[in-house]
Symmetry: C3
Subunit: 156 residues, 3 copies
């Protein structure tokens, strides 16, 4: 199956990629690498649900954090498709950067970030396995619980 077929089989509908709200763009290509801007946990309605805002370990907890990371991953994919036309032009997910809005004592950062990593492997198979860094930060835009940035290798 191709990535677009897997996406469909999983019943995932990518949202319309958000228009840039400032002097930056959601994704920028240089040679074979596509750099995707950090995506927050916007839902299908273009808003961050209260469930996916706030600090892990203080205001929200593991299950909601995992959902937030998956939403960030979905928004990353929406930006990829918008930038290059189809997920099927991706040859490799190279790297994810995961930023978790964390209470100072919240240590289960890697488990939260799996919400995004698992999605990449579900969609791209072996080509979805990526290098990754996960850190807990003091705050994220709009109080999103998670932000995910990415680098993909693309063809064409």
């Amino acid at each position: 199956m191709t990535a677009e077929q897997r996406l469909k089989a999983l019943g995932i509908v990518l949202p319309t990629a958000a228009a840039p709200v400032a002097n930056y763009v959601p994704a920028m290509r240089s040679g074979p690498l596509l750099f995707v801007s950090g995506q927050v946990a916007f839902g299908p309605d273009g808003k961050i649900d209260a469930r996916h805002r706030g600090k892990l370990g203080a205001e929200i907890f593991n299950e909601a954090g995992l959902e937030a990371a998956r939403l960030c991953g979905i928004n990353v994919l929406a930006q990829v498709r918008s930038a290059i036309g189809s997920l099927d032009h991706v040859t490799r997910c190279v790297r994810l950067g995961g930023f978790i809005n964390s209470a100072p004592d919240f240590q289960a950062l890697a488990a939260i970030m799996n919400g995004a990593s698992d999605l990449m492997v579900a969609i791209f198979g072996e080509a979805g396995r990526h290098a990754r860094s996960t850190v807990g930060v003091a705050q994220l835009p709009l109080d999103s619980a998670v932000e995910v940035e990415a680098i993909f290798e693309v063809r064409g």
Copy 2:
């Protein structure tokens, strides 16, 4: 207008690029990509003004944060010129990474980071529009309010 001409028209004088203070360098090229080290809000005198230190949302506020982000951007440009001789060898600003020294409840991170993003577009025009990630961090070197790192695509 070229990037160097725009810089002049805007009256921006790039500071002398700071010499490396440790076993790292301000910028490193690999193929067409120039990776610029995280730059803090040093002013023209090589010091961080008290106005550009501290946590957004607690010790300093929006206008000073925006200025700090712009200073980081100016220092990024100084490192680019020092590394490749002229801003006119830049073909694209590919990515900015923005780290904002934030109180745990400060959410307007994207607005602060525009101080750096707007500068790139002012200098490079369309080629200045970049992918970007912005996060709020617990602390930055020398208590700088902002730190900006960058990837450029360069020719020659």
Copy 3:
């Protein structure tokens, strides 16, 4: 001397590279660039010593932080060797990203990160001098005091 010879001369034994614990991999190559996942301060026994856990400036202090950064660097090198067979295939350390688990008022971030940067120059010589960003974060996986990610340029 080659990088592997310098490593030996310094008496550094690289640990067995940790197996991936989730749907990501410790390092991913795209063209000449090898992206290494964020590495925490695991010791030779595969555990993070209590000495290398916690927040700089509150729970632990400079010397232990420097050791933690060096351990992260050693783990980065272990992943490089595991990914490409030998450190001697590295042509350049391009970039390190340093995340320091910091109390909100801890400013000596750059000095801590030198533990990783100095190691790269000790092993790769001039080719070990890299671009770098260092930030203080709210928390890191497993309460590690430091996390280091890297990009190397590799041959073959």
